[in-house]
Symmetry: C2
Amino acid sequence: MKVTIKDIAKIAGVSHATVSRSLNDSHLVAEDTKKRIKDIADTLGFEFNANARSLSTNKTGTIGIIYPERFGEFGVSLYYSSLLTQIRDYLEKEEMDTIVAFPKNRYSKDSNIKRLILSRKIDGLIIIHPNINDVDQKIMNFLEKSRVPYIFLHHYPSFCDVDSVDAIYTDHFGGGYDATEYLIKQGHKNIICITSHGDSREFYQRTNGYKAALSDKNIKFNENYIFRGYRDIISGFRIMKDNMDFIIEKGITGIFAQTDLMAIGVIQALKEIDKSVPKDYSIVGYDDIELIMEFKPNLTTIHQPREEIAFLTCDRLFELINGVKTNSKVNIMLKAKLIERDSTRKII
Amino acid sequence: MKVTIKDIAKIAGVSHATVSRSLNDSHLVAEDTKKRIKDIADTLGFEFNANARSLSTNKTGTIGIIYPERFGEFGVSLYYSSLLTQIRDYLEKEEMDTIVAFPKNRYSKDSNIKRLILSRKIDGLIIIHPNINDVDQKIMNFLEKSRVPYIFLHHYPSFCDVDSVDAIYTDHFGGGYDATEYLIKQGHKNIICITSHGDSREFYQRTNGYKAALSDKNIKFNENYIFRGYRDIISGFRIMKDNMDFIIEKGITGIFAQTDLMAIGVIQALKEIDKSVPKDYSIVGYDDIELIMEFKPNLTTIHQPREEIAFLTCDRLFELINGVKTNSKVNIMLKAKLIERDSTRKII
DNA sequence: CTTGTATGTGCACACGGTTACAATATTGAA
DNA sequence: TTCAATATTGTAACCGTGTGCACATACAAG
């Protein structure tokens, strides 16, 4: 049933080598035979056997993506989902398939990163990695030894030197700083910060940006102004509900929520007690996920340039795969950008 | 670098055939040599070359999933995202990788379904297919001819006979009926229906269920009570905003929104004009996505048993792959189930 | 008519496994 | 002790494609 180059060779009356060369557009074949062979291939509906091809070329035409396990439920982090879409889009253009895997396979003892690489199903690896401690040194050593091209997206392990690893990511410190500074410039002095539990470097840095902006504007930092949740709507909602007395008592007017989802929750909670945004509270989110445009008021937020992130990541990965000689790693931090919308207002 | 069975053979002092047999747990090898060889493989960190293996066995260990193109943005349809997660989970248990593809590759002329199958990167295909007309007859013929096992999930082409195609899906008619009947039983007589534009069979059937329930309860169906949007929050929001006068004038009290996202938008819109759910309006959604638990009030909705859908689908696909003899196709319609929460109330 | 140079094609092996079949070793019964 | 039966291992072909090298052909130059 399945047609092979040998079948074509037989029909065309040439060797399978010539067929192979023809279909790969080698200049070693005369133009007319090439044409004849291609025509035959077309009429037979020939397609290369990817496995045989991979076996002899050591190229698979598929890229592996390690996606954060906790975001396994697509939609839990709409930002990362969106990033994934961007990457997929780029890879599709290159006719690359993608296998999405999770750093830990709950059902097997062995790391499936290892399996994916060693079994040679992929040409390269994109590691989306939001946490400080997720990737251990062992895997890093393994990756280096295995010589599969890989690139970190959005973060890289803290034990790596900046110059020793390819990585594309955004400036979370700057984002946190800008969000906070913006609120301060709008006249807000009492600004709380809603961040995430856990070991995510991105939140850690955003919070540092918040602190730095306060400090630069001579506003005293108050540890009690930091609240922690799980980066989802309900967390933002709960935090506000549970701390409303405190927030009113302290005269809070500005809120920096470190995910858009939390910001949505915050706004929900405020609505329930008849407080309005931006009239009573000014709020800045983070991520600029599509979803926020579906809520009123439209959220002022920090946009992470995911198109650019995806582009740079894939671009560099292809360089690595194609063995482009570079004497240094590519380690780029992209600026996040504040998008002004309707969730803040100037106060006296 | 990469260790092969021949390397192991050399070290163990046996032929590579013996190594192959050992690592595949063949009974043809003596227990102690088998053990010895496995140990060597472990210490060397051996892993099969998937391509070589696929080439000779004709099995790839990866499953293709055709995911609706318009949901390419993961998160656009949280229901389908969640379904995808369930499937992935099942496949992971079986140590299967998954390649997610989209029915049309915007960047190449040829169908990438064809490429995926012909290039033999996958063992089987799950087609998530929400529309009536997406899959054309040509592809169907192609699928049949190529003899790659495939199964439709969530719908199957309307030109197929029930008994001629494997498919797992839910009862959208019943879901629409139950949602509407529930509202009627709560005392609502003026119930609008918010559905989707386009050719999705699921929405068509849900609407039919709505009509049937009305009819059974002797409530006259009114074409003007049907509103159409794009299954997202903003559509629900806009529809309410744009038609509020009409809705008030007609004394509407019940709303059947055919996606949870639209229901969320509806509630948002009502809040903005100080109407409350369920006090002023009772609303029933559809899908039971996780997100709705993050909003107040918690939405009464129609739950589609996605765990079961995913399980049955994968299970059957593996049957097909493993050549289990069955003399008929598996074509199962699962019941959707109404989940009572806080977005409706009984009226006089 | 040689010789040299391009150009086009085929042969044969490689890629890393699986597996039918042959070959050898071991065992147990007669 | 002998021999068949059984258990274990090796040999070689095969899966479908790519490619270095040898070879054949054509054509221009000498």
